[in-house]
Subunit: 82 residues, 2 copies
């Protein structure tokens, strides 16, 4: 079995309003050193596969078809045998 | 300047209903090899600091005070000079 760790983030050209709101909150806490906050998703899942290549293929298919909106988001992932 | 990459995930003992819903969706796509989907947040932010230790301190303070709900969530982060 493999553990896939996927990170999905908004493309850099897309305004991240959630990140902007969080940045404002962080500044209100007195942490003015923080800037350019961007918020994405982190997804962990188990993949039952006979090889690492197959696990990668399944993970990529799940990202493209369901997890990421490829118009607005980029995704990257790592696959680790567990 | 440093780039902090933070991952926030629900504690393992907490039911992840969002993950369960996504798992169902993935199975509906025909990818039955996927199980135990858990969804968290991935946050990137720039931190202006004079040393890596200071950047880590600021990042940890932001996580504890604002970004993570430490009752239900765990967080981890890496800090990289950019």
């Amino acid at each position: 079995m493999y553990l896939s760790t996927i990170t999905i983030s908004l493309r850099p050209s897309i305004l991240d309003v959630q990140g902007k709101a969080v940045e404002l909150g962080i500044h209100t806490l007195g942490l003015s050193a923080v800037s350019n906050v961007r918020i994405g998703k982190s997804i962990h899942m188990n993949v039952e596969a006979s090889s690492e290549d197959e696990a990668k293929r399944i993970t990529e298919e799940a990202c493209k078809k369901l997890l990421a909106n490829t118009v607005m988001e980029d995704f990257s992932f790592t696959v680790k045998k567990v």
